[in-house]
Symmetry: C2
Subunit: 147 residues, 2 copies
């Protein structure tokens, strides 16, 4: 039995409600869509924490944004394991997987540290660490096709 | 001293690097931009976890998405405290603050529970809880202007 849920505005998910587990099998479009969702989430939360660090927005939510970023960072590598170039992903990702993978491990470690340290250090600590933790552009310059 | 960081593709943050803390003061555009970043993050992560629940994507990242959603959920109410209608937010939000606020408290409680339960229960638990935890449409129908 398949039911269609309206989860968020404009986004519909077909959730398979079968009692028996079904092994997930991503086709190429699914793979690309999924990693784009992850990147959009990171982009949006980085923008939000950026507004706090730049003093445009009060800092109440600082730690929660940092935690969300750290959690999302941990999902990126898995989303690129399937060798599917396209969307904005260059084939160089899989040609240079060791480099790409190491960059993502660094991203996970640094965003995790930033989230932990933000709890006690607040904005100054995030300000200090984010330039090194959120090195999005470093990967994008090499591995992403500009839209 | 103000420095401009390139954080993510296409998004630039002016981070005030002054040593002395500066109280953040959001103008109306900042307020609207900030809550839109939060909503975009939620939208993207809900889409990602939706792809797992609908078996389009393997479940490896399930718990991380659920945790990211729970963290982001905790940031929403604060982002709406400033009484700034606009963007897609209707003035009804502040006219009916008790209702709006209660809905967001429920959202926080339910996404928090879903993230905790996902650790042991996996996809079936998320599938069971998400319809009630991610009731985005309930609020959007009442409090959001469609684009």
């Amino acid at each position: 039995m398949t039911r269609l849920f309206k989860l968020v505005g404009g986004f519909a998910v077909a959730a398979v409600m079968a009692a028996a587990p079904i092994a997930a099998q991503a086709d190429d479009k699914d793979t690309i869509d999924y990693r784009q969702h992850i990147m959009k989430g990171l982009d949006a939360q980085t923008a939000a924490i950026g507004m706090i660090v730049s003093t445009q927005i009060p800092e109440d939510n600082l730690v929660k944004h940092a935690e969300a970023i750290a959690q999302m960072a941990k999902t990126v590598k898995k989303s690129f394991e399937a060798k599917v170039a396209g969307g904005e992903s260059k084939p160089e990702i899989w040609a240079n997987w060791a480099d790409f993978s190491k960059r993502l491990d660094d991203f996970v470690a640094k965003t995790d540290k930033m989230a932990k340290d933000a709890k006690t250090g607040g904005v100054p600590v995030v300000m200090e660490q984010m330039v090194d933790a959120l090195t999005c552009k470093g990967c994008h310059d090499v591995y992403r096709n500009k839209k």
